[in-house]
Symmetry: C2
DNA sequence: CTACCTTTGCAACGTTGTTGCATTTGTAAT
DNA sequence: ATTACAAATGCAACAACGTTGCAAAGGTAG
């Protein structure tokens, strides 16, 4: 799906900053940080514009944050128009990439008595398939 | 355990700022934000001191961060001297408290083929036992 | 093409993270 | 208890980031 279509689908104006951000995220194949996105954009935008574009895209569920830790926040494309259902994220400690693991069901975590779960954030840290292969070569 | 003992156990100097922070966290019964801690301290400290105290306490595994989302970071006491093993955190959407769920085993999450998990961060959002009871009264 | 509403860029301000340095404080040895 | 040294503190200063107001520019529906 093209950036322009995504914006249309979400009833957002097609501005070049928004399209640029979306295109960079699509090209990144995985989650990417705000600074990396900024660096890969063709044009440069005022940081206020950039900041507001993120806010708009996030509020409209075009993208969502992936918080690895407080120093390490990335963005990924959302795959649903409405509120994103819970899904897990995988952080590779070797290549530092982040991927959404849509296959994982986060709902069925057993809680202690009395607690009632609604949604869950799960970040799994480890080694991704590509880096596993690298290891195998040694 | 007293704040002074905790500091001694970790071979850290007993300064009033550090003791104050630890005492406030103990009294809080659950995770608490940096600003809330600052507000509940008897004396006031320079923000640099405060900042450095947190850094020291965190690096030495006296306390650990709980990141609910990027606007909502709290601190809780760690229960181990060495690197904290993974455990889940529970965030109550009604009373906004955060508790460590040490009972939950975070290790056995089934990953897709090729992925190798090392540790996991889990935040479960929902309703805590106390707020459940509140609901039952209605 | 026009008119209207939204977004943009800029200026400005507040908050937070961080460092260097002189002073003060905690602690272990005397 | 006193001393001496390493470590922590407070202050100044700076960078990065979040946020707002406002005038100018841009996107879109008619």
């Amino acid at each position: 799906m093209e950036a322009a279509d995504i914006l249309n689908d979400h009833h957002l104006k097609r501005t070049s900053c928004r399209e640029g951000i979306i295109n960079v995220i699509i090209a990144a194949h995985g989650a990417i940080s705000e600074n990396d996105i900024k660096a890969r954009l063709d044009s440069s935008y005022d940081r206020t514009t950039f900041y507001r574009s993120f806010k708009t895209l996030e509020k409209n569920n075009v993208i969502h944050k992936v918080i690895i830790d407080s120093q390490n926040v990335k963005y990924a494309l959302s795959h649903h128009h409405d509120r994103q259902e819970s899904h897990a994220h995988f952080y590779c400690q070797k290549c530092h990439t982040v991927q959404c693991l849509n296959e994982i069901n986060v709902q069925n975590i057993q809680l202690p008595d009395g607690y009632s779960g609604d949604e869950a954030e799960v970040i799994i840290k480890g080694t991704c398939p590509d880096c596993q292969k690298e290891n195998a070569k040694d």
